[in-house]
Amino acid sequence: MDLLQFGPNGIECPLAGVHIDPWGKVDRALLTHAHADHARFGHKHYIAHAHNRAVLQQRLGKNISLQDIEYEDTIEINGIRFSWHPAGHIPGSAQIRVSGKNQTWVVSGDYKTEYDDLSMAFEPIRCSHFITECTFGLPIYRWKPQAVMAQAIAEWHIHQVNQGYSTLLYAYSLGKAQRLIQLLKEVGPIYIHPSIAEMNRALNSVGFQLPELPLISEWRPKVDSPALFMAPPGASSDKLLRRLLPCKEASVSGWTLVRGLRRRQKLDHGFALSDHADWPGLLSAIEGTGAEHIYCTHGFTAEFSRYLSDQGFNSTEIHTRFFGDVAPQPPSTAETDESIH
């Protein structure tokens, strides 16, 4: 019997009676991270890495039953051992290792292989069965090092300021925003959207040290000099942002690597900086686990799984509710952004 199975509520371990990132309501939910499509409302009990506490309480309610766990710590249920390991996706994100009955499984959650100076760095965990995301599972997706992207953003921002424009970066409020704040600390001043400020406070309460930054509402048009604004993609039609105009807008997302997707956003620019693994990242992660059985969830599942099969892996495409069907929803400033997953 497979230790982990794909049931109607998501990934489950029947022997232990727990689910991992389930979408149906369950008794015990083990979470990889706090993004909304992985950490859903309504479970009876949650177990997640301690860094997620403040964010989860804020999103799912103060009174949820939530158990903290540290990286490398193990809990045992019905003889099955569960442990959390850094996934490098966002602060507090984890891969969950499940072992017992002579099997070792790893659920990757979302991950990236490049260290972002903020989230604990991804580390490959040896296992026989690896459930991997493949949001960017096509060989066209290859990221440049984040230092290169940070410099590109900084140069673009400075260029705009010299022309008299402020800039507005769209970045998801949990993860991408904090990463950018760290990367762009020499550039500034940075004004942030309240939802980003809220996430900063939540992360600082569990031990992160993000700087105190002014809110975009504090910036006075025609009085203050051009600045860098940061807001989540869903906020692009906020009144709050409209008063910042005219400014130059850019999205910070892996999808902007493709010109067509970038142009569709009708923004001035796009920077391909992602919190997901790129093609070489996915392949090296799989290599690192030594697993023979690979399960591909959310993203280019069909394509990626077929490629792995070609390479001799025992690979299966899994449909989950982490990301809909096959091709990614195109990025839209008003809708889905890859970084919430």
Partner: protein, 584 residues
């Protein structure tokens, strides 16, 4: 190459017309002279070298990157642009060798290399291409791929290029426009000599065409309807609708009446039929005649009878008009005219089977004098006199439509199809002949399109801005027995961005089959498709082909069984197109 790559990417990064023009000016000023001329040729679509087919290029990239062919194909489907896909996939291949990267040529050398290689065998082409794939950086590689696939296109209009050149070369716009007309070989010119060419070849060159603007942004504004659930709704019996349902509706339409009101007095305007042929200038100067299409191509050879007609014009004459298939006063479809297009030296049989004539509507030059600044009403009188004197069967004056007021004209517009025309042209009687698309004096007021309700059957992803979104749809109607759906048209959306996303998500959830990029979906969604013409054709299973089909709106209120059928479509086919007396 560097200056041109920079230009390409700057043009791509901005939506501002001013910034685009500025980028062009920088390019023309700073690029080496040869590159500027080649850049100009590429910008205006004059040069295109398709060195290798897309399939072969994808195979080579698969080989260079050690990726399976199907994955290269999937990547292409996702990106939606071949040159870009290749350049993204080649990222790890770049600098893979130790060859010097200092050999990046200038654009003119590269273009001449490409032209030369076109005549060489494939192994030589491959060697050249692979070498460049290794050496060029990302942006240049992308551009290089655009050049070798012949898919080079930039969203820059001729008039913007012309303005930019005129600004940085300090020459009048009209002179630059004339110099760029027609075909010229970039190997033979410097920027300076190209601009001087205007004077040397002036006597064979047409004037820049004055183009009319659409009176209304789109003929039919999508109507928002409440979303009704698709389930548990009884299927109503199919109700036949009248063939032309909008005669009275549109004059009431707010945007339409506003547009008409803005025109002012009916008496200030001349109205003509809008012909669906090719716009031509017929020129006779210094004993030489030439016939030019709006695409700035000489078409004397394709239409020898029009070339003969040109010979009979008095010296120093330029006529503007529309070339149509048919024997006056009969006007045949554009489809028929197409049989003659692209055919140099047509056979005698073609000429008899597909006769052509010209409906002239303007006179630009008379007795060697440029009369474009005279009022249209005056030019029109001179034109009519000229046509009368010539009395040539292939040269007819495009009739003026009388019609006492706008309402009356609107009625006439709806009858346009019966004349073999697409609608009306409204031209201010006092207007001079401008160059390019200038709003204000010449308007095209198209007839409302014919329409059918059709069912979405297949979908495939679009390209460019729409890559990875399902936006290209095959639409079908029912057969006579209303049991089978028959494809009738391919449409490239026409929906709003929000609708596109919604339909895209729907398609992904309702796929029943996949053939490569093409998805078969459950036949449920009904769209109202509009088109300008319909005729028999073997291209689609329905045996019919539509002209300019597009989606007018999403019929959320209709179920697939309520879509139109072949009988309905055939009625449109039979709608009278017989010529009536054209002169009022």
């Amino acid at each position: 190459m560097k200056a041109f790559t920079e230009l390409y990417h700057r043009l791509n990064q901005t939506n501002s017309l001013l910034e685009k023009q500025f980028a062009l000016e920088v390019f023309f000023r700073d690029a080496p002279d040869g590159d500027a001329v080649w850049g100009l040729a590429l910008l205006s679509g004059r040069t295109s070298v398709r060195l290798v087919g897309g399939r072969t290029l994808r195979a080579w990239v698969a080989e260079c990157t050690d990726l399976p062919d199907w994955l290269v194909e999937e990547s292409y489907q996702h990106v939606g642009d071949l040159a870009e896909t290749l350049s993204l996939l080649l990222e790890p291949y770049r600098n893979a060798s130790s060859e010097s990267s200092a050999t990046i040529q200038d654009l003119s050398t590269m273009m001449q290399d490409l032209l030369r290689l076109k005549k060489r065998d494939e192994s030589e082409r491959k060697e050249y291409i692979l070498q460049h794939w290794r050496q060029l950086d990302g942006p240049s590689c992308f551009l290089f791929n655009k050049l070798i696939t012949g898919g080079f296109r930039l969203g820059v209009g001729q008039s913007m290029t012309t303005r930019a050149l005129s600004n940085c070369m300090n020459r009048p716009v009209s002179e630059v426009a004339q110099a760029l007309m027609g075909s010229w070989d970039p190997t033979e010119y410097s920027l300076e000599s190209l601009l001087n060419r205007g004077a040397i070849h002036a006597h064979t060159l047409p004037y820049p065409f004055y183009l009319a603007s659409p009176l209304l942004p789109s003929p039919i504004v999508p109507i928002e309807r409440p979303i009704e659930p698709h389930i548990e709704r009884p299927i109503e019996p199919h109700i036949e609708r009248p063939i032309v349902p909008h005669i009275e509706r549109n004059i009431e339409d707010a945007s339409q009446s506003t547009a008409i009101a803005a025109l002012g007095n009916r008496t200030d305007w001349l109205a003509e039929w809008k012909w669906d042929g090719i716009r031509v200038q017929i020129i006779r100067r210094k004993g030489v005649s030439s016939v030019w299409s709006r695409g700035e191509e000489r078409i004397d050879e394709a239409f020898p009878e029009i070339a003969d007609l040109a010979q009979t014009l008095p010296p120093g004459t330029v006529i503007d008009g529309e070339l149509l298939c048919g024997q006056f006063p009969e006007v045949r479809s554009f489809h028929d005219l197409q049989k003659r297009l692209g055919r140099t030296k047509p056979s005698a049989r073609m000429v008899t089977q597909y006769p052509v004539f010209v409906y002239a509507f303007d006179l630009l030059e008379q007795e060697g004098e440029d009369i474009r600044q005279k009022a249209l009403s005056e030019r029109r009188m001179l034109l009519e006199t000229l046509i009368e004197t010539l009395n040539h069967p292939l040269l007819q004056a495009s009739p003026l439509i009388q019609g006492t007021d706008w309402r009356d004209l609107n009625q006439k517009r709806q009858e346009a199809r019966h004349q073999g025309s697409e609608g009306l042209m409204l031209k201010r009687a006092g207007s001079c002949y401008e160059s390019g698309r200038k709003r204000g004096h010449w308007w095209k007021w198209k007839m409302d399109p014919m329409q059918l309700d059709a069912v979405l059957l297949y979908a495939r992803p679009g390209h460019g801005r729409r890559s990875s979104l399902f936006t290209d749809y095959s639409m079908a109607i029912w057969d006579h027995s209303r049991t089978r759906l028959l494809p009738i048209a391919q449409v490239y959306s026409g929906l709003t961005d929000a609708e596109i996303r919604e339909v895209d998500a729907w398609i992904k959830g309702h796929t029943t089959d996949r053939f490569g990029p093409v998805r078969t979906v459950t036949p449920e969604l009904v769209f109202e498709i509009g088109f300008e013409g319909i005729q028999k054709s073997g291209r689609h299973k329905s045996g019919l082909a539509l002209r300019f089909p597009r989606i007018l709106r999403w019929r959320r209120d209709k179920l697939a069984p309520e879509a139109d059928d072949l009988g309905m479509a055939e009625k449109l086919l039979l709608a009278p197109t017989k010529p009536t007396t054209l002169m009022d």
